[in-house]
Symmetry: C2
Subunit: 335 residues, 2 copies
C-alpha cells in the first residue's frame, strides 16, 4: 500500500502533547513528509508546523490527512467526523491509526466513495497471523520495554536503529504501533492483533535473519500497566529479545492516568522483564537504560543520566541527546 505524501497532520482538539504522540512522532522522524498541521477550535497542541485547513493544504501540495492524535481507547471521535469529511471533499486521502476503521463511519465511507479518495487504516492488517512457536530464530534482537506507555520506547528504537546503521551494523527498525508504521512504512500494530496471535505476530515481525543482523523492535505498553501488560508480554515472548533496553521517564512516579499504580524501583522492573523474557531466550540481558530527559535542560538531563548510571551500574542515555555509539557498543558487547 502506498500512502501519498506529504501529510496534513490533524490534531483534533487535543489539549496535551501526549495525546498527539502520533503527530509528534511523524514530525520528528519524517519531517520531509509534513506539509502542515490542522487543529479544531479549542485544540492547543502545536507541532510547530504551518497551520492550515484542508483546502489550503491541498493548494500547497498536501495529499493525505494524517490523524495525529490518539485518544484513550483508540476510537474515531464523533466530533472529528465533519472535519474528516471536509478533508476528503478538499481532495485529501486519510491515514488513521485508530482501532476503529475509517470506513466504519458512514459519513466518512460515503464521502470517500463520492470523492474518489483512499482510506488507510494502518493499525489493521488483513494478513493471517500464526500462533507463536517459541522456536529460536537466527539473528539478534533488541526490544525496548518501558515502565509505562508513552515515554520513549519508539524514539529509543528509532534512534538506536539509526545508530546501529551509522556504526555499519546490519539493523532494521521493526514498528509495532501505528506511528512507527507511519514513520517506517511497515510493521504490525501488535495491540490490534487478536490476542491468541500476539507472540505469533511478534515472531512474524522479526523473522530469521543473518546471525549478525539486529532487529531493533519498538516496544508497546508496559508489563506494569493494568490495561496493556498482556500486549507487552506477548511481544516480549515472541521477540525473543537478546537485549532489552528499559525506557523510563525519571519524572514519572506512577502509571499515567492510573493513580495508585506506582512504578517500582528500576532494578525490580529489570528483574521482572528478564525473568519473563528468559522463557523464550535464556540469554536475554538488559545492557542499558534509556531515560527521557526532555522535560529539563541539557545540563540537568546529563546530571540525571549520571545519577542513574551510578545507582544502576548500567550505561544510561537519552536517545534524543546522548551520543549513541557507546550504547551500540555496549549492546553488542553484552550479546
Amino acid at each position: 500500500v502506498t500512502i501519498q505524501l506529504p501529510y496534513l497532520i490533524f490534531l483534533g482538539d487535543a489539549q496535551v502533547d501526549l495525546d498527539a504522540k502520533t503527530g509528534f512522532g511523524v514530525r520528528d522522524w519524517r519531517p520531509e513528509a509534513c506539509a502542515g498541521q490542522w487543529s479544531l477550535p479549542g485544540g492547543i497542541v502545536d507541532l510547530g508546523l504551518a497551520p492550515m485547513a484542508p483546502a489550503e493544504a491541498v493548494a500547497v501540495g498536501a495529499k493525505t490527512l494524517l490523524i495525529g492524535v490518539a485518544p484513550f481507547g483508540g476510537q474515531i471521535q464523533a466530533h472529528w467526523v465533519p472535519a474528516l469529511v471536509e478533508a476528503l471533499e478538499a481532495g485529501l486521502d486519510i491515514v488513521s491509526g485508530m482501532h476503529s476503521r475509517l470506513e466504519s463511519v458512514d459519513a466518512i465511507r460515503e464521502a470517500a466513495l463520492r470523492c474518489g479518495r483512499t482510506l488507510h487504516n494502518v493499525r489493521h492488517s488483513d494478513k493471517p497471523l500464526p500462533v507463536g512457536t517459541g522456536e529460536k530464530r537466527p539473528g539478534k534482537r533488541l526490544l525496548s520495554v518501558g515502565t509505562d506507555c508513552a515515554l520513549g520506547k519508539k524514539y529509543t528504537t528509532l534512534a538506536l536503529a539509526k545508530a546501529f546503521q551509522d556504526a555499519d551494523h546490519k539493523a532494521t527498525f521493526r514498528a509495532t504501533g501505528q506511528t512507527g508504521i507511519m514513520i517506517s512504512g511497515g510493521g504490525i500494530a501488535i495491540d490490534a492483533v487478536v490476542a491468541d496471535f500476539l507472540s505469533g505476530a511478534a515472531e512474524t515481525l522479526s523473522p530469521a535473519n543473518d546471525a549478525d543482523h539486529w532487529d531493533i523492535i519498538e516496544g508497546q505498553g508496559s508489563l506494569l500497566h493494568p490495561a496493556y501488560a498482556g500486549v507487552s508480554l506477548g511481544l516480549l515472548h515472541g521477540s525473543q529479545a537478546d537485549a532489552l533496553i528499559l525506557c523510563h521517564d525519571p519524572f514519572r512516579t506512577e502509571i499515567d492516568g492510573y493513580p495508585g499504580f506506582a512504578i517500582p524501583p528500576l532494578q525490580e522492573v529489570i528483574d521482572l522483564h528478564l525473568s519473563l523474557a528468559r522463557r523464550t531466550n535464556a540469554a536475554a540481558c538488559c545492557p542499558a537504560i534509556a531515560l527521557n530527559t526532555s522535560k529539563v535542560g541539557a545540563d540537568e538531563g546529563a546530571a540525571i543520566l549520571r545519577d542513574h548510571e551510578q545507582k544502576m551500574g548500567l550505561p544510561c542515555f537519552d536517545p534524543m541527546r546522548s551520543d549513541l555509539r557507546p550504547i551500540v557498543d555496549a549492546v553488542i558487547a553484552a550479546c
Copy 2:
C-alpha cells in the same frame, strides 16, 4: 442469541482426545444437550455418544451441529467444508468456536443462505470492549491458572462454581473460552479479543458485585506458554482475582507441543502468578492446587494428591474426583 438444542457433535478426523476438548466439555457438562456424535472417515476420537450422520441426527431431533474439535490455530479446516455443508442441507444450524467465522467460507455461507439455517460464531463478540481501568471492584473472584493449556482449568472452575453454589455461596461461572460459552450460554472468548482490550474484557466479564459474591473465572492459556502468555496475563490483571487455583497435570513435564519448554517446580509457578496478580490485587493468594489425575485409577490419583499436599503444604484436589466442600472452605478462609 439462542442456540437450538440438542447438538450433533462434529469431531472431524480428530486423532487425539485433547483436540476434541470442546466436544468432551459439552458432553461432560451439558449431557442433556447432546444427541450424538459424527466423525469423518479416519477420525478415532470417541465421546461415547451415538454415532450418526446429519440426516439421521435430524430424524432423532438434533437441531444444531456443534464443532467439537479445536485444531491448532483455531481455523475452519478445508476438509471439513463438505461435511458442514451436508449438515446445513440436512437441516442443522452450526455453532463454531473457531477464530475464523463460518460465513467467511463461501460454500458454508451460501449453503446457510440457501437452506435458511443459522451460523453461530461463539468466539466472536460484536460488543465494543473498554480499555482496562485497574480499578478495584466489589465482590470476590477466583481464577484458575495453569502450568499449560488443556489440562483442566475449565473443568476446575465449572466444578468449583457448582461446589460454591451447593454450599449456598453466591457464585457465578464466568466462561472465557468457546467451550465454556457453549456450556454456560454466555461469556467472552478472551483469546479472540483485540489485544489492547484484554484486561478490559476481563473486567467486563466479572463486573462489580455483592461483597460476598464469587465470580469463578475460567482461566486461559498459561503464563509459561510461549504462544499464549499474553492472553493469560491480560486475564490475570483484569480479573483482579482474590484466589488463584493452580491447575496442573502431574504427568506433564513440558508444554504440550513445545518440546524444551519445561514446566518449572510448582512453587515457582505459584510465585510467578502471585507476583504478577498482585499488580491489580495486592491480596491475591493461592489457596489450593487442582491436579488432573484422569490418567490413573482412583487409588493412584489419591496418592498423587497426598504427595503433592505434603510437598506443597496446600490442599490438593482433583475437580472430577475429590470432595470439593473442603476446597470451597479453604478458599473462603483464605480470602
